[in-house]
Every structure is written in C-alpha cells, then in structure tokens.
C-alpha cells in the first residue's frame, strides 16, 4: 500500500521544520504526524517520512525504532498501555494487566482478533500517585483503576465513546 501525506500534513510538517535551524530535528515530530495520519509508522511510512524530509531512510528507521511510542507495526484501534512499573506494581498494576488479559482473551503484547484492542505492559508513565493506571493509544490517561473501571473503559471504547481528560486535584487545593 502506498502511503501519502495530505496537504494539511505537509503544511504541518513545513511549520515544524521552521522551529529548528536544520531539517533533522523534524524527524520525531514528523513521525508523530505520520502516526496520527496512518495509525502506525511501518517501514513504508518511515520511507515516506524520510522522503518528505529529504533525510536518509536509515536515519528515520533508526529513530523510529529507538522510541517506544512509535508503532512499528499495525496495532489495534485502541492500544491499552498498562503501567506496571514501581508505584503501579505496588498498587496492583499487574492485577489490572492480568484482568484485561482475561477479559480481552489476549496476552500483553497481542491484539484482539477483531483488531479493536492491543494490550501492552509499559514502563512508568509518570502518574505514580494515581496508580494503577493505563494510557489509551498514546493519549488519555485512565487513573485509579479497579477491575470494574477497567471493564467500563473497555465497554466505552467498544461503543466508540470519547474519553474525557481526568483532572486530578492537588490534595492541597480547595478552590480548584
């Protein structure tokens, strides 16, 4: 399949390039633009990014492979990244991961047959005080997980509902 950027994508990439004195720094942001457009950055997409920026394919390939958030292969419609690192481990992150494995009938790292969910176990997402938690497809955080809340999340996503940003109050704040 041939991948192509839209006119808007190309305009965005031009804007990105203007932020830096050279072209190479646009590599990471351009990969983000590509991933948002195509849902992943398979080698074919990496090639497109390289051609668009006029950079060597090997460079873009090397960068894409270094960073965990770029999907080097197709993923499910929703990617559930469950944190199991230190604070999440202490607060039951593995229980949530195993619960989701049972519920979705897949192991961590796999995608459901219908292509709706990919389940991953990931490293610290910087939400340690709100453990256990997960991130949905590189975007919203879902905090203070229980098995029930994880079930609700799966249903919501199956129904195509938009997730809201969960604002967490600072414990010292009364007015906000």
């Amino acid at each position: 399949m041939a991948y192509e950027f839209t006119k808007e994508d190309l305009q965005e990439i031009e804007k990105i390039k203007a932020k830096y004195p050279e072209v190479m720094p646009a590599t990471l942001p351009a990969l983000w633009v590509a991933q948002r457009r195509f849902g992943h950055v398979e080698p074919e997409v990496q090639r497109l990014v390289a051609q668009t920026l006029g950079l060597p394919e090997a460079h873009v390939h090397g960068v894409a492979n270094f960073y965990t958030q770029y999907y080097k292969e197709k993923k499910g419609k929703y990617v559930l990244d469950v944190c199991t690192c230190l604070s999440c481990q202490l607060c039951g992150g593995y229980d949530i991961l195993h619960h989701l494995e049972d519920k979705l009938g897949i192991k961590a790292g796999e995608t459901t047959k219908d292509g709706t969910f990919t389940l991953n176990q990931v490293e610290c997402l910087g939400a340690c005080g709100y453990a256990p938690m997960l991130q949905v497809t590189n975007d919203k955080y879902v905090n203070h997980l229980t098995k029930e809340k994880a079930d609700e999340l799966v249903e919501k996503l199956k129904n195509g509902e938009e997730l809201e940003y969960e604002q967490i109050k600072m414990p010292q704040h009364k007015n906000i």
Partner: protein, 430 residues
Amino acid sequence: MSTVDWKNYTPVLLPDIKDLHKIDVYTKNGGYKALKSVLTDKKKWEGPKAVIDEVKSANIRGRGGAGFNAGLKWSFMPPADGGPRYLACNGDESEPGTFKDRKIFEYNPHVFIEGALIAAYAMEITTIYVYIRGEYKTYIDMMEKAVSDAYDKGFIGKNILGSDYSVDFYVHSGAGAYICGEETSMLESLEGKRGYPRVKPPFPAQKGLWGRPTTINNIETLSHVTGVINKGAEWFSSIGAKNHPGPVLYGISGHVNNPGVYELPSGVPVLDLIEIAGGMRNGKKLKAVIPGGSSTPILRADQLDGITMDSDSLRTVGSMLGTAGIVVMDEDTDIVDVLWRIAHFYHHESCGQCTPCREGTGWLEKILLKIKNGDGEVRDLDLLLDLTTQMEGRTICALADAAAWPVRFTINRFRDEFEARCKKKAHAVA
C-alpha cells in the same frame, strides 16, 4: 537542628487559584511582573549578569535530581558571540516515582514560561525549547496553548515588553524513552536522533544543541526562578533546609491514603510527609521508602527517625533527594519483587550504547528473576553486588549507576529477605 515549619506553608508554585493556567488569571495575580522587572527596570537589574547573580545566591538546586545550583550552571555559559545559544527545558520526567512537572504544565504553565524567559534573558539566549515526554500528550497540548497565548500577549517574540530583547519558544514532544531525561540524550533527541547520551566534556554550555552553547534546566527549577526574581534570593533561601532551600514539589505514591503532589518547603521529615499524605493505607505498618525516584537508595522504616527531605539529611543514611518522588511501601511489600521490577525498568531503558550498562542491566534483571522465582542461590546475591561495581562509573551517562544503586542498597538493607528467597542449601557434590 531546627525543624522546618511546613504547617504554615502556603504553596507559591502551585497556589490554590482557580484557572491559574489561563494567561489572564496569571497576569491578574502578578504574572509576568518578574519578566517585566528584569527587562525594563535597569536600576534594579543592571543587566543579564545581575539576574544570574541573584539566582545563584538563591541557591536553587536542580529539581531534576542532580541538585546542582541553577545560577552557577547558568554562569558556565561562555560570553555571547552573536551566534545562536539555546535553553533546553527538561520536561522528560520519567524516573519511576516522579510525576511533579506535569502539575506545573497543568496548573501553572506560565510560572514556568516566565522563569524560562528570565533564564534565557540572563544567559543572552534567543531560542528556548521545552522537551516534554511524548506520553504527556495532554500536557504538551496545554503547553502549546500557554506558549501561544504568551506570544499573543507579547511576553514571547520580538522586543518583549518594549525592550530590545527577542526570544522564541518552542514545544518539542518526545516519543517514549526514559534516557532522554539525561541532558545530553535530550539534546540528541531534540536534534532528531536516537537518544544516545554524549561524552562530557565538552559540556552543553560549550557545545550543546547543534554545537552551540546550551543550558539545560528542569521544569520545576525554572519555575522557581520567577519567585526568586519577584521576592528575592533571600526569600527563597530562607525557606526549608539551609543547604537545599526553597519550595519542593513532593510526589508521594505507593501505600499511602492520599497520594499526590504536595508543595512544601524542602527539609520536611520523611515520616511527616507520609502523615501529610494521609498516613499508611489500611492501617498497615511502614516497611520502606524510596525517597527520590527509583534510582535513589531505599531506606528501611527504622532508618527514617528524624530524617528530613534534603540532601544533607538523606546522605547521613546513605540516600539522596533525587526528584523528591517518594515511594512508600507497607509491611506486606515483597522487596524481592520490587527490586526485580526496578531492574527490569533500567534494562528496558538502557540505550545500549555502553557495554557495562547494556549487558549489566540485563544480567541484573536475569539474576533477580531467578531469585524471585525461588531458583536463586545465596552466592547469586554476591554476584549481583559484584556486577554493580562493574557498572558504576564505567559508562557515558549515569543510567548504569541508577540501575546499580537500587540493587546494591536494597540487597544490603534487606539481605535477610533475599537470602530467605534463595534455595536453602546448594546441592551436595556427589
């Protein structure tokens, strides 16, 4: 030693003001006054150097973990030569147990932007990048909005507030790599490459982004600059612990009732912080604390009497303040599991550039997994300790040290639990 008065402390970095993230609310509450002062009050600030001197004497010790005096770091920048110079703000925040800078992005982004602008002016820098970890998509969007508002109001851009100073400010997203929190790795990542840390020297102040002078500061560190300019170095250095002064964003997680980020003076007793965070969950007993992110040496509950959250006090019990991300563990915690999980993290995040780290982190994890599964032998513990000495100080960056310290200190401080998990007796030789 006098105790720090945290009970009467009112947050200044993250005050309890509704909608403070909006630029109008921020300016109504005295926002951007500090920037205006350094740019236009020539009587008070004779020039950029006066700003550096003030910040240096405030002794803002870097809140990213290293604890280096921010103003002193600024003074390492070579004299301006007309070429580009950069400020790279480190919002990569990825050390397990650390989740404080995101609160600044969310609740008070302009206090950070203002601090970064003052820093840039002081170092005669004309381009600022803020590097935010890619997972913080929500906060990256919030920062984009805040920066764009500040441009619109004329706090960023050409001839700020009628002065002859111009500066640009860009938000840059990471894409998932703990190592990019290491300052030179962050520079590589900003340049669009794999995040491989650079050999120092040359230090970033000499050769940073695109080979030009660059200073890297943590988000919280830069945010404190605004207060120092508004209220003076003496105000800042009078707060909290003498040698590590100022407000601190403590991230408290683990087995407490009210985990979260708390803004308090430095030097609060560790045990008080646990009480502030609602005390131990389910009335359990405290077993251990990791005081400043996963790489800082773990402390047993019996080591914590009178220990306060500052570098001097923590050093007396063999630990560090790090990022002030405190992980609290109760009596039911399986320390072997915890250490294996920490080792797994550092193995996953090693960039693979240096052999002692790439191989060492893998072996630490493998041996710990063996012990965790009950297949270890007591001599494996000494093998682990031996491994740590072959990693520490032998690599380009400190990730190997960060991986080795928890192993060394956790085994030394909980040796009985590790031994109990090992096979009781080695097989007799036939």
